[in-house]
Symmetry: C2
Subunit: 492 residues, 2 copies
């Protein structure tokens, strides 16, 4: 499949009526006006106090009129342009973009089982991210390479990411050095001046609140730095119903929105019009063990409800492709299918963790990555208007008349079929559609094993995207200089 | 989960606009008026000719006004009452019912691999069908027991089905003896007089056209017999785009509708108001091999389009839970999830093959049955209005205020959570939500293996539903008598 963003042509699934939307909105406003959100960052507190919010210690309360006015300044649609302008993405409206799995500490594959992340694994996932055109964004670290010291890890990771892929990248908001280094490396990789970098979105960050009701220091620090340079910020509370949020899904969505909107207000105060996404990570826990559950019926509905609220606030939206399964098996695929189709039904614009996620985000798996990309390609193909076209050629009465009633009559050989068969249907790369006997003769290989082979083939034949040698050298020099300076402090 | 039919509260996904609906409708009417459908049954031809259709040999053409008038006589909603009235189902409106896998010639399980169906396997699937309350109908034979001679197979199968389950059953339209025997056995099992049986739906049949454009003798024979007794008939053309139907999905849907509506007209001529469902089995082939594909993007859209047309004609609808995978792995679950959620999105009322189907319908698998039931329970729970309720108790501002901002604050212990946690979330039976280490310590069991154990446990502890001894004896005597008469001819 070519690199192309899917356009979601379906009407969203909307479980809330007008009164439901009002109830959640009023709940979120009630939290912001009367309970308040804790901003654990002096600079953020000063900005909010100066703008007229009620600041009591670290607690910030804000009136609904001001909230709605400031949220209204965030654009409903914007673009991010990476070093290869052909990989530019649009976020908002009906556009969707899919992001690789981000941030698991561990890897798992069929050959080696579960083990801590390392740089070799990081590179493999970057190659998969670049290879699959259904992945539009090289988001966070697909696995944390713990064999590289934390002080310089971001430098090595971004160097690899910017040379192995040419897609939109992301900075973790984990201290000023990391954020500033990533912005600088993205600028160098794209061959931009500082002014050119500042004038349009080139990368983004994602921040998570500390639910309930708190934004921590480094996330706010990163937010302030990106907002000042007009770079997009995804605000994603992690409200697990029954744990960090109310056990009721509407309550968990309400809390999530209050936390998210509070950060978006801060961003718009810093730079009106700075692009933002409202993120959702609302799911439920297993009430027997307290373990997080994903891709559940409750997760689907929470995502759909958040979609309605994102449209109410005029904000683009992020959700995720998630599961609780430990290996790429049946459970992994029904949970992931549920969450990816929930992204479609909710009108999500940016789908995090869309390929490769296992164990509630603690494991990244290359086999799962390959299998998820098959589902993502399904979704992309599903949006092709040609499938539901109803021109006379599509209704095909002449073809039906031509084939007629004769015993054994079929459509295989007629021109109407032959003219179209090469592009008529989605052709899978990981599914095996042969009958059982042919499949068994060829080894009887289950999906996860097929995906393992596909993963190995991709890695073995991978060719990185072009980058001018002078730019690569400049990037390398920047990394070397920053390493010699000690990188980033690790005691933040 | 208790036995209860899900009510689909979502607005359907509708890819067709008004013009698309018109184009497909006009195409179907064009086929019926100008190309005609072949009815390979003299009795059906006589009925249609007498009613004013244009009959030319076996080809029957009918005017659109008459078609629309007769289709309008079919009820948009009706019930079927099995021997246990508590298992009554409603078909039509927003009601959904799920049917076990029907008709594969082979079985597959993790222990024994693929093998021809037998009566032991048949009984196992009947036990699974009865055990799972998310399965509402004991449809066709979940596997064909080829160790029982074809002449008496239907007698043994129906005896097992009617004693091992108390749910709605089905008769194959494969010759008059089979159809009449099933009707009689259903009547006996429910303790009904002939008049009582005739006055309301007690069972049903499903007929498939021979696409393109034909209905064969035995299917029409069964149709006529059931229609005369007011028993419901599901008409399901099998229009594989690019093989037995146009390569364009709208064309395949148009052909399917024409074939289906033609049979429904016949039924309504025989008995106006006889319950009918319009079935869809429109999918695409793999254009490389000609093999049928299922759960594809094209399949989803065809099902959604058929849903729009079923509502246009005011008919309840049947679709299926299908896949092309050979084993219950990742591919099986993404394909099956796609088709089951397509049933939801299309407004399907009766979902055939909802649990246990593999290899494009050539294999029934108990592990797949168990895994599919987990997905069906997801769907059933997904429709619970409580998930998206927005009363003040759901928005939970008081709970959010109570938990507040303190470090480590959470919702686990508060009353709002404790009062609700037992029923707040769906609790899975086949998913494993433990972390990797706990899962690995317990054997590292993948989903299919877990499902195998669940299947064995269900079979080993199964208790059949109650049936009065006199009725069981009467059923057994009927079977013995009919066997002594030779059962049904096998050369039809």
């Amino acid at each position: 499949m070519p690199f192309r963003q899917p356009v979601n042509i379906d009407r969203p699934t909307e479980p809330l009526g007008e009164d439901g939307i009002d109830a959640i909105h009023n709940g979120a406003m009630d939290i912001l006006e009367n309970i308040g959100i804790q901003f654990m960052n002096p600079e953020a507190l000063k900005i909010l106090r100066d703008f007229g919010c009620t600041v009591d210690g670290e607690n910030v309360r804000m009136g609904r009129d001001m909230v709605m006015e400031m949220v209204g300044k965030a654009p409903s649609e914007f673009t991010i342009t990476p070093r290869n302008p052909a990989r530019k993405i649009t976020l908002g409206g009906n556009h969707m973009a899919f992001v690789n799995v981000s941030s698991p500490p561990n890897m798992w594959d069929l050959e080696r089982g579960k083990r801590p992340g390392d740089m070799e694994g990081f590179r493999d996932f970057m190659k998969l991210t670049q290879y699959f055109n259904c992945i539009h964004v090289a988001g966070g670290y697909p696995v944390e390479p713990v064999d590289v010291h934390a002080s310089v890890r971001h430098l090595d990771c971004l160097f690899e990411k910017l040379t192995l892929t040419d897609k939109v990248v992301h900075a973790y908001s984990l201290g000023k050095e990391r954020v500033e280094d990533v912005m600088e490396m993205v600028r160098i990789a794209a061959g931009l001046t500082h002014d050119e970098f500042n004038e349009t979105p080139r990368m983004y960050t994602n921040i998570n609140s500390v639910s309930p009701l708190k934004h921590d220091f480094p996330m706010l620090d990163g937010t302030i730095r990106l907002a000042r340079r007009g770079q997009p910020i995804v605000v994603t509370p992690f409200t697990l119903a029954g744990a960090m949020a109310p056990v009721t899904m509407a309550g968990a969505v309400t809390l999530s929105l209050a936390e998210g909107l509070a950060a978006i207000v801060l961003i718009q105060i810093i730079r009106a019009g700075c692009p933002c996404l409202i993120g959702t990570f609302t799911s439920n826990v297993d009430m027997k063990s307290g373990a997080p559950a994903f891709g559940t019926p409750e997760y689907i509905r929470a995502t759909q409800m958040t979609g309605q609220m994102a449209r109410f606030y005029g904000l683009p939206m992020r959700s995720s492709g998630v599961c609780a399964a430990n290996v790429p098996d049946g459970q992994a695929m029904w949970e992931t299918s549920n969450s990816l189709w929930a992204a479609v039904q909710s009108g999500t614009n940016l789908v995090y963790h869309a390929a490769g996620w296992l164990e509630g985000g603690l494991i990244a798996s290359p086999e799962k990555f390959v299998m998820d990309c098959e589902v993502l390609q399904h979704i992309q193909r599903y949006f092709a208007p040609s499938i539901t076209a109803t021109t006379p050629d599509d209704i095909a009465i002449d073809a039906i008349r031509e084939v007629g009633h004769a015993p054994g009559a079929n459509f295989f050989a007629i021109d109407h079929t032959q003219d179209r068969y090469e592009t008529a249907f989605y052709a899978p790369f990981a599914s095996d559609w042969r009958n059982y006997e042919a499949w068994e003769l060829d080894g009887g290989v289950w999906t996860a094993e097929r995906a393992h082979k596909i993963y190995k083939d991709i890695i073995n034949t991978f060719e990185p995207p072009k980058m001018e040698m002078t730019i690569k050298e400049e990037l390398g020099e920047y990394v070397a200089k920053r390493k010699s300076e000690g990188g980033a402090p690790t005691d933040f």
